[in-house]
Amino acid sequence: MSYPQIPADFGFTEEHEVLRQSARRFLEERCPISEVRRLAESPLGHDPALWKEIAHLGWLGLVLPEGHGGAGLGYLHLALLLEETGRRLLPAPIFAAMLAGFALEAAGNPAQRARLEPALASGDLVATFALCDMGGGWEAAEIEATAEARDGGYLLRGVKPFVIAGAEAGLVIAPFRERGGELALFAVDLPSRGVRVESEIGVDPTRRSARLVFEDAFVSASARLDTAGAATLHRVHVRGFVALAAEMVGGAESTLLMTRDYAIARKQFDRQIGAFQAVKHPIVDVMIGVELARTHVLAAAAALDHEPDSAEIPARMAKAIASEVYPVAVRKAVQLHGGYGFTWDCDAHFYFKRALWSRAMLGDGAHHRRFLAADLLGPSA
């Protein structure tokens, strides 16, 4: 394997630009940082009205088939949209909904997709995906939760922590290991008997999560998505890498702009602090990082659109570089805002916490580089 061919124009069209601009305008108006603050301090953590509007804009069904209420668009659209939502820390479980959509697309049979996708696209159903298993592992080999066939259905056992919007979701899709060791994805309605939902107290107040404990939860046979196997889970992950990386680039971009603006407004020693190279150059390095990461995200999205089966390398590169750039961007933001940056009043800490969350989920830079190394250099010692 090496980096796949992508169109020289990334497949970019006017249509993409229209989506990006409308998303930016909508979020500027409906999701200013003051609103993010308000929701971050609210019990629910997001605004159902806003959720409905997002659904009406077609965002939730962006890559779902038109026949199922989706817009039938591609991953470059998705990346451009999520860059905008990440930029505003949109406190709504849209990333979770995307993961659920990827799972249905990868594993659902026509009937299952026809039943669930319209509800997902309309926003009537808040769907999420349980990435992690007990202990935080998320790769196929680390999934310990089990599904046991019983009376024409299945008994699900195990713990799924860090589930985005787990406390309010009406549906969770999660991987379980069947007798024989094969993995399968199950779409479980919530609330349901045998599934204990414990809200978590998370670092990031703009992205709520819960711990789902499956205690012999019985689900019908139709809850088991058709296409089983580690490869299916992997398909979901690869798309997840790009989606999360897109959000991260957006967040890093905002952090950069916030720091840039402060460096222009703030004066010390009778000068704008942005005139000091100790302030200017780190900001420039963050900008360079953001542009390189953005390039990888856009290219990975183009790869998913045009070479979906060889998009793993682009997707891992995107998540790897985003996982290096965003944490540096927020670290510099807090530091360069000085005493103010250390306070709750400064907005930097919201991005700081989202950056920590995002690096931790779906593999950090070193994790993905380990996989890429096998491709570049062959097996390790």
Binding site: W138, G202, V203, Q268, F269, A278, G338, D364
Partner: protein
């Protein structure tokens, strides 16, 4: 840093160390059952405060504070070395920090240096016993890195002065009896010459303490508004107009460039590489543990080498013959190196934890009570407070290497 005591010592010293170590083991308070602050920057509740004040008094009553301060001011007139041993054993025992740290480490030594006999007699003992807590009034919203641009005014009155202005980062102000205050007494004089240094009574009228919330959501870190707040003549420390010079002395102590504190450390249980290692062995990562990941191992060892260098530098700093080329370098660089080391260490811990690092204070499943992400965020208090890392690099470049000023 761990294992601070790894040095071969003469017997009487070793004996004293054994005695202190034994006392710590016997008297160190247990888990209070509520969240304790990681540093003096986040003392919030009364119970936290009282718990910490009691602990300092206990250490003082045992005769382990102010060893190097003159007996007539509540000290014992011992060599500095003995006080250093107590500090080392305090952090070795991972005991809670001493809550009156601003009094012990910054106000106290400055008063010893510039205070009148009356002032020394009045303030020092109550600092050691934690009867009177101190806070610092240097930074302002418009004067952070550029401290000398402070605009808080102290206007002459018959009895003394009246203060009007706004100070931030006034940690512990809500618990303090006194503040070391940098204020402008002569607006017509130069930026530096117009400043004076005061020992300000926090119970004065016209003083409002407002909580400031940190990025962690924790309080304890607040701001003070002065509206014509009066103080007497005796409040002045040093000469009028000498404030900048006195403040620089305080910063020398604050930044560890000079020794002579009443003892104690500013943080409980500084995070150490040994603790990082024990976390790494528990933290799951890709099937195995973080401790088995070669790349994380490499980074952890980089930190170990840094930590040992810092520990050994604290020994080397006391051997003049091994510091001839740059006598002040080790002391002046300590704050910068330690604060950035500590930041990298707590960030690496979060990376080792992976998804588990996203659980926060109060979550039942948070590893080590979310100590690591909390420590990472609090680490910025050290890379920003007391002169940002950027300012530290200017100071080192100009004072130690003789490079031209950046202004």
């Amino acid at each position: 840093m761990s294992e601070l005591a790894q040095e071969v010592e003469p017997n009487e010293i070793a004996g004293f160390r054994r005695e202190v170590r034994a006392w710590m083991q016997a008297n160190k308070p247990g888990d209070p059952g509520f969240k304790l602050p990681q540093s003096f920057l986040e003392v919030e509740s009364d119970r936290q405060f009282e718990f910490l004040r009691d602990w300092q008094r206990k250490v003082f009553d045992a005769g382990y504070l102010g060893l190097d301060w003159p007996a007539e001011y509540g000290g014992q007139g011992d060599p500095l070395k003995r006080q250093r041993i107590v500090s080392q054993e305090l952090s070795r025992a991972r005991a809670p920090f001493l809550v009156n740290v601003i009094g012990l480490q910054w106000a106290g030594p400055t008063i010893l240096h510039y205070g009148t006999e009356t002032q020394k007699k009045r303030y020092l003992k109550a600092i050691l016993s934690a009867e009177e807590i101190w806070c610092q009034g240097f930074s302002e919203p418009g004067a952070g890195s550029d401290l000398a641009s402070a605009t808080t005014r102290a206007e002459r009155t018959v009895e003394g002065w009246r203060v009007t202005g706004h100070k931030v980062w006034t940690t512990l102000a809500h618990k303090s009896k006194w503040m070391i205050l940098l204020a402008r007494t002569d607006p017509r004089a130069g930026k530096y010459e117009g400043l004076s240094y005061f020992l300000f009574p926090m119970d004065a009228t016209g003083v409002t303490v407002q909580p400031l919330v940190k990025m962690t959501g924790e309080g304890g870190f607040n701001q003070v508004i002065f509206d014509n707040a009066p103080m007497g003549r005796e409040a002045l420390l040093g000469q009028e107009g000498q404030g900048w010079q006195v403040a620089m002395t305080t910063l020398l102590f604050e930044r560890g460039a000079a020794e002579g504190s009443g003892g104690g450390q500013a943080t409980s249980s500084a995070e150490s590489v040994q603790r990082l290692a024990s976390l790494a062995k528990r933290a799951r990562r890709g099937g195995g543990t973080a401790a088995e990941d070669p790349v994380l191992r490499d980074r952890a060892v980089e930190l170990w080498i840094q930590e040992e260098a810092l520990r050994l530098a604290s020994l080397r700093a006391r051997i003049p013959g091994l510091n001839l080329d740059r006598p002040q370098a080790l002391r002046l660089m300590n704050k910068l190196v330690y604060s950035e080391f500590n930041q990298r260490l707590s960030e690496l811990a979060c990376e080792m934890l992976g998804p588990a690092s996203t659980l926060w204070l109060g979550d039942a499943h948070a590893v080590d009570r979310a100590e690591w992400p909390r420590a990472y965020m609090n680490s910025f208090g050290m890379t920003i407070g007391g002169g940002t890392s950027e300012i530290q690099r200017n100071i080192l470049g100009e004072r130690v290497l003789g490079l031209p000023k950046s202004k």
